[in-house]
Symmetry: C2
Subunit: 197 residues, 2 copies
DNA sequence: TTTATTTCTTACCATACATCAATGCTGTGC
DNA sequence: GCACAGCATTGATGTATGGTAAGAAATAAA
């Protein structure tokens, strides 16, 4: 069965033709998993990226004291991968896990290389995605350097209003770099502020 | 005059042949600037990346209260650029400035596109650089989420022992996300710790 | 050299956020 | 329905880092 979103992504955004897609699709594998399923563990070596056909994934680390820190959320039509493992053949530095029941397309390193050889449009789109990812991460670094918890939370709401409803609060806290307790207090403050105005 | 380091980079790492390089080099422009020179200001639109032939550059933001936050250091043989501006035609979100007297190669967006068309090796190397940049930024995000100031500083020393000597401490503090005063205290603590052992 | 400017350090106090522990809430399985 | 688990909230208290201000040290300028 061909994953629709991934097909659309490759054809509409990546500029592949239908026949090019058919040629590639044979090597594709998609996987249905339920909430909580772990795709990748820290320390493992991993040779695949993941395209989220449906559902929601996250990548995160666990520090010395056992606390989780969320690096990325990946809802529908997003990629998530461990570049250390895939492109540099090193053991993974974080975990990848399903937050919701999800359908995920497993993508070998080779797949992207072949697709890039087939289509210059695909290549360019892919490079654009990489630049965008860097840009996004730089913005996040900047926020972590410069903005207090409340501002980071407000920014998160603006950027990902949909995730706000799909993700438990303690994960959002983890993404923002604060404790669930602190996020709860930030929300309380915001509520009373808005009420007073 | 042809910038040596950039030439070596394109030929040895990027896999360009000498003739390919010569063909491209005509459009190259390199610039000698002195410490403090600003290449790019927040809000400007910018159409060039910068390759540091010699010297040291930094990119940074300035927040509402006037404080600077360093996003990246770029010593010799590093690229530094504003992707929002170059690849998405948006006004720059940060400043780029010389920390030392530097020689910098100015690179148009077109240059990279043409080089990529010339050489598959270059294309792959370049993509590899992008993946590495993402990996690096993810590690930094993870540190900002999980590690206290002291650990971040120790990590910085390991990663960039050379920068430690070339960059004023307040800039390192800014890169780490703490005040210069705090960094000074962290260093004092480390000194007394090591003495006691 | 002398002076001026920037950077670094130190002390005291303030603040943001963390930690710990208790309580209530919400959903899920039996 | 009840019991249980995971999550969110709240209060009391602790800790890491920030802010301010002053002086020392280093660096650049004259």
């Amino acid at each position: 069965m061909i994953p629709e979103n991934f097909k659309n992504y490759l054809i509409n955004k990546g500029g592949l033709t239908l026949s090019e897609f058919d040629h590639l699709a044979s090597s594709l594998q998609s996987k249905k998993v339920s909430k909580g399923h772990t795709f990748l563990r820290e320390g493992e070596v991993c040779q695949q990226s993941f395209f989220v056909e449906q559902g929601l994934l996250r990548s995160f680390t666990i520090d010395d004291s056992g606390k989780e820190h969320i690096i990325q959320f990946a809802p529908e039509n997003w990629f998530i991968s461990e570049r250390s493992s895939i492109f540099f053949n090193e053991p993974a530095e974080f975990f990848i896990e399903a937050i919701e029941d999800s359908t995920v397309v497993l993508i070998d390193k080779d797949f992207m290389i072949i697709a890039a050889e087939l289509s210059a449009v695909f290549r360019e789109y892919n490079e654009r995605l990489l630049h965008n990812h860097i840009r996004h991460l730089q913005k996040r670094v900047n926020q972590l350097l410069s903005a207090p918890a409340e501002k980071r939370y407000l920014n998160f709401i603006n950027l990902y209003p949909d995730l706000l409803l799909r993700v438990p609060q303690w994960m959002i806290a983890s993404y923002l770099g604060i404790t669930p307790e602190s996020l709860s207090r930030v929300r309380k403050d915001l509520a009373t502020k808005n009420f007073k105005q």
